[in-house]
Amino acid sequence: MDIKAVRSLFPILDQEVNGHPLVYLDSAATSQKPQPVIDAITHYYKTYNSNVHRGVHTLGTKATEAYEAAREKVRKFINAESVEEIIFTRGTTTAINTVASSYGRAFLKPEDEIVLTCMEHHSNLIPWQQAAKFTGARLKYIPLQADGTIDLEDVKATITERTKIVAITHVSNVLGTVNPIKEIAAIAHRHGAVVVVDGAQSTPHKKVDVRDLDCDFYAFSGHKMCGPTGIGVLYGKRRWLELMEPVEFGGEMIDTVGLYESTWKELPWKFEGGTPIIADAIGLGAAIDFLEEVGLEEIERHERALIRYTMEQLETIEGLEWYGPKDPDRRGGVIAFNLSGVHAHDVATVLDAYGIAIRAGHHCAQPLMKWLGVTATGRASFYLYNTFEDVDRFIEGLRKAKEFFDDVI
C-alpha cells in the first residue's frame, strides 16, 4: 500500500491542529473521507439530485440507478446472495433496532433467551433490553476471558434450546477483540437461534463475507468506512426478512394503500419508509469502490502492523495499562488504555494540545467499563491512512502527558 498516495486523497489530514500537524487516531468513532467520496456526493447534488423510485424524468431515473447501484456494491462488498437482503438504514444503531423491534418483538416469547456479551456497544445492547422487556424474554451473557476474548466452550454453555437470538459484535470497539463469529453462528444454529452481528468495527477494516460467516443479520455504518454519516446497512437472510414486518410506515415502502388496510413493497424497499438516504448511499458506494481499490486485506495487514508496533511502544511507558488480547493477530486496530494517576480526559486534552486526536470516555460500552474496573479509558484507533510516525507522535504525546501531570502535582 502506497501510504503517501492514500493520505493524499484525504484532504482533512493535511492540516495543523493547535500548531502541530494533525494525527487522527479516532477512526473507530468516525473515519475521515477521501476525495472520491466527497466528489460522489457533490456530483450527485450538483448534477442529478432527484427523488428515487418515482416519477419518470431523466434525473429521477439517474438517481434511482445510482442509489440501486450502491446497493449492489454493498451486496458484493459483503458477499450477500442478493440485493433484496441489503437494506439501507441510518447506521448500525438503526439496523440493530430494526431487527430487535421487528424480528425480536414478533418472535420472542416469555422465557426465551437473548444471548449477548458484556463487550457490546450500547447499540447492540439496549435494543435487546427493550425487546426483552416488551416480550418477557431474558438476557444472558457469554462471560469474557481475562484478556477480553471469548472461549467457545463458554458459548456452548450459554446457548441453550431456549436461546432465540445471539447478538454479538464482530470486533470490539474498546478491546479490539475479533470474535469467532462463524463458530458462534454454527453453535447458535444447532440450537435454532439466529445470530445478529454488530459489524460497525469490522467492515471498515477487514474482508467480511456474510455467507461464509453464516450470520442471519449483519449491521454496519458507512461513516466508519470512509463513507458519509447517516447511512448504514442491515443485511438479513431473505427468509427472515420475508417474515418480518416493517418498523417504519409511510411513503416509499407501500404497495397498495386503502383507507383501512395497506400492503408493503417487496424486499428490500418495505424496510425503507420515506425518501431514502440517497446522496449518502451513493457516497457509501464510492467508499466501497475506494476501499476495494486499496484492498481490504492490505488495510487489515497495515493496521495490524501499526497495532503491533503500538503495543510494543506502549510497554515502554511506565504506569501505562492497555486492554484486550495480547496477540495482535486476534485484534482489530483499536487500543484502549489508561495512564496511572491521569484521567483519560486529561490525557486526551494534553494530546489534543499536540494535535493528536484520540477518544476518551466510556466508548458507549458502560458494562464493559465495569468489567474492566474503570470508569473511562483513552482509545487510539487506526485506519488505512495512519502511519508509524503517527504512532511515534502518539507515544511521545503520552510521555508528555505523563511528565506534565507528574510536574504539576
Binding site: G19, D346, T349, A353, G361, H362, T375, A376, F405, I409
Partner: protein, 143 residues
Amino acid sequence: MSFDQLETLYRQVIMDHYKRPRNKGVLQDGSLTVDMNNPTCGDRIRLTMKIDGGKVDDVKFEGEGCSISMASASMMTEAIRGKDTESALRLAEMFSEMIQGKDVEQIEALGDAVALQGVAKFPARIKCATLAWKALEKGLKDH
C-alpha cells in the same frame, strides 16, 4: 494551543484540589443527597449536604472523573459551605457565567474555583467543570 495554555487549564491550585480534595466523602447525617453523572463521558458525583435553617451547614462530595470535574467539586464545596442556600445558588450561577467566558462581578466569592476560568477556552471540558455545580443546583432547587 500551546504548552502555556495547557498550564492555564491545569493550574497548580486545580491540581492541588484534584490530588488533595477538600470535603471528600459522604455525610452520614446529611439531609440531601444528589447524584449526577455526565452520560457522555462517565464522570459521576454524589453530593451530600446538611441543610439547616436555610443554610448549608455541611457538604461533602464523592465521585469519579477527570481532574477538572473533581477539582471543581472540591472547590465548590469550599465555596458554599456555611452559605445560605440562596447565596449558594447565586454562586452556581456566577460559576456558570464564568465558565462560559462572561465577565462576572465579585468573582472572588467563588474562592479557588476562580482558577477554573481558563476552562472557558476548552469547550470540550466545560461539562467537566460544571458537573458538581449542576448537582448543587439540582439539589437546592428540589429542596
